[in-house]
């Protein structure tokens, strides 16, 4: 009777591989730092391959190595996806650096759009730091004082809305009017 005895060959590499692979998979599902997963995933892939080779040569168990290999391949795939998106962002920034007139054109277009919609945004503040703290929730909460939707003075064919946000140090007033198309 042949009794197959498994050795511990490739076990250490398999353990390192599976730990790195699981870490990289969790990192890959966090979009902000997803691309960082590429490093542990690549290491996990290398360790898992070494583990499988060692296990094959030394009659060891290949389970850990195979598991690490599958998880690391999935992590690499996701990390490459995030890297592609981020590199796309880089290329847009580089393009804007080379052609700064594009920002100017965009600004003019935005201004035109805002003028067409007749939107006014006015921010009055005496302390930006205090305002930011309030916005982060460390200080008093923001209170929306008025939200009005009424007919404005520019004749009966227009409708408008006004939102006033008032805190201790900042007052934001947003007024918008929409002209009815004839």
């Amino acid at each position: 009777m042949n009794v197959e005895v498994k050795t511990t060959a490739g076990q250490a590499m398999g353990i390192v591989g599976i730990v790195l692979a699981v870490i990289s998979l969790i990192l890959a599902f966090i979009p902000c730092i997803g691309f960082v997963a590429l490093l542990p995933a690549a290491l996990a892939l290398i360790f898992s391959i070494i583990s499988i080779i060692q296990a094959t040569n030394g009659y060891g168990s290949k389970g850990l190595g195979i598991g690490a290999l599958i998880v690391s391949v999935l992590s690499i795939f996701l990390a490459v996806m995030w890297l592609t998106i981020i590199s796309g962002g880089f290329s847009v920034l580089k393009d804007l650096e080379r052609h700064p007139e594009k920002i100017e054109i965009f600004g003019k277009e935005l201004e035109k759009e805002l003028n067409d919609a007749n939107v006014q945004i006015r921010i009055e503040t005496d302390s930006m730091v205090k305002t930011l703290r309030q916005l982060e929730g460390e200080s008093d909460s923001i209170k929306v004082i008025t939200i009005k939707k009424n007919k404005v003075s520019k004749g009966d064919d227009s409708q408008g809305a006004r939102i006033t946000i008032d805190t201790d140090s900042v007052q934001i007033r947003i007024e918008a009017t929409e002209k009815k198309k004839k």
Partner: protein, 162 residues
């Protein structure tokens, strides 16, 4: 004479031997090693959240800064810092999914520590089926807790493929 059909022998029950916390056995099973590694990493995550507060996190939101995309993971580190300080409302404001994601790390940490203690106290108690159940529970928990992040990842992937 009544024939003896069976012989009943009463033997005292053998007490199961327990090695207690035998740290040499850490080197024995790969499952124990993997659990120890994960427990240590999770502990480091909690320490990281405790050391850094809301405004001094070294991890930047690289994706938002470079692409303008606001992912559901934005503010997660800051929210974790609030959770370990038991400010759950602030954590929810910073990131609505933070409690869900943090619960994954916390449950996993408790599970890992529990499994380490069990294996050290009762060697050979962990079988292949224990490992299979552990993988199944962990995977289900990962999908449930990370669902908003996984969903966002696959949405981006589909957009990229189109």
């Amino acid at each position: 004479m009544i024939p003896i059909l069976f012989k009943l022998e009463l033997k005292p029950l053998k007490k199961r031997k327990s090695n207690g916390f035998n740290f040499y056995s850490i080197a024995a099973t790969p499952y124990l090693k993997v659990n120890s590694a994960f427990a240590l990493i999770l502990l480091l995550v909690f320490i990281y959240s405790l050391v850094f507060s809301q405004n001094n996190h070294p991890i930047p939101a690289a994706l938002t800064q470079l692409t303008g995309i606001v992912p559901p993971s934005k503010g997660l580190s800051a929210a974790f810092s609030q959770i370990v300080r038991l400010n759950f409302t602030n954590a929810y404001i910073l990131n609505p999914y933070s409690l869900r994601v943090f619960s994954f790390f916390l449950i996993q940490f408790i599970l890992r520590v529990g499994l380490i203690v069990t294996e050290l106290r009762f060697p050979n108690s962990v079988t292949t089926s224990t490992i299979a159940v552990d993988i199944l529970i962990s995977l289900t928990l990962l999908i449930y807790c990370f669902y908003p992040l996984i969903e966002f990842t696959f949405k981006i992937l589909l957009q990229l493929l189109h």
